[in-house]
């Protein structure tokens, strides 16, 4: 008979296999660098492993995973800003400046411009935009991940799109 521990281990292995790529890209767009994304993804799954036993299944599994990944990314960015002794806003500029020299970025001019535009957004607008535009998640799921109302999300996304459009046309 399979023990509880073995069952959890099996569940975890399956979860890593199913979600590692999706979560990686979600994290990568937030932290930009591959090495940082790898660190955050590892930490995300370590946290998932520690808390899997307590996951009650009230929310969908992927909503729970995205929430952990988002929080881990934000924590990482805050720590990085503190380590570099710069503000959160200055860190966004720092990420944009390093994009061109990143060996794991080969986007064309339009893609580079889009990434730069995204990095000019305030953190909350950036998260909403990434989850809606790239992950194509519905508002009700995003509201669970970011723990905010759908109305607020819609407003944030609307502002984000306007700012990005303005940035791309002006640069």
């Amino acid at each position: 008979m399979q023990s509880k521990k073995d069952h959890l281990q099996e569940q975890f292995n399956s979860l890593v296999s199913d979600y590692k790529v999706r979560l990686y890209w979600h994290i990568r767009r937030m932290v930009v660098s591959h090495d940082d994304a790898d660190d955050v993804l590892q930490n995300t799954f370590i946290k998932v492993f520690k808390n899997l036993e307590n996951f009650k299944g009230k929310s969908q599994l992927y909503t729970w995973l995205y929430r952990i990944a988002t929080n881990e990314s934000l924590t990482f960015l805050k720590k990085k800003a503190r380590r570099l002794q710069i503000s959160d806003e200055q860190l966004q500029t720092h990420l944009t400046d390093n994009l061109r020299s990143d060996p794991y970025f080969d986007g064309d001019e339009v893609q580079e411009k889009l990434q730069n535009a995204i990095n000019t957004l305030p953190q909350r607008q950036k998260q909403v935009f990434l989850l809606k535009y790239y992950e194509e998640l519905p508002y009700n799921e995003i509201s669970k991940i970011l723990e905010t109302t759908e109305g607020s999300l819609k407003a944030s996304y609307h502002h984000a799109v306007k700012k990005i459009t303005k940035y791309v046309t002006e640069h």
Binding site: V16, S17, V21, R28, H34, D106, G107, Q115
Partner: protein
Amino acid sequence: MKKNWESYSDSGFKVPETYFDTFEEHLKENLRLVDMAAHKEDGFSVPQGYFESLDTRIKNKKVMILWPLNKRFITGALAAAAAALILVLFLWNPAPQENTFENLSASTLHDYLADEGIQEFMTEDDLTKIEDNNSIFQSFTMSDDLLFEMIDDQVLEDELVPEISDK
């Protein structure tokens, strides 16, 4: 439309070629490190059931074996301390000299004689001898008149009157 996550890099970002293939392996190593850190593994182990039976083994320990040793030790230590104290007192505080008139200071004798009213019956010569630290009782001579003055009148009556009347 379902996304093809594996090749999802339409934003210009790339990943190292075998990154996702080896991800689980790296994650497993990290989880092991985290687990080791949580349990502070250092290679030491204890016999099976050691902690479960520890309380009982401590309670059953015969403490009587240690007591005579301690008692002997304490008794010996006390005896040694007492002997050392006696030795120190003996060396540090030797027996006091015998109190004699020769040992008394002249001022002490003067004070005594004055307080007792004796000094006024002494001659200048006697007082000089005291100041020269000579024993007054070796050289002190008392005249008969002085002697009679010092002896209580009642004593004289009690002792001498019957003797006279007998004659």
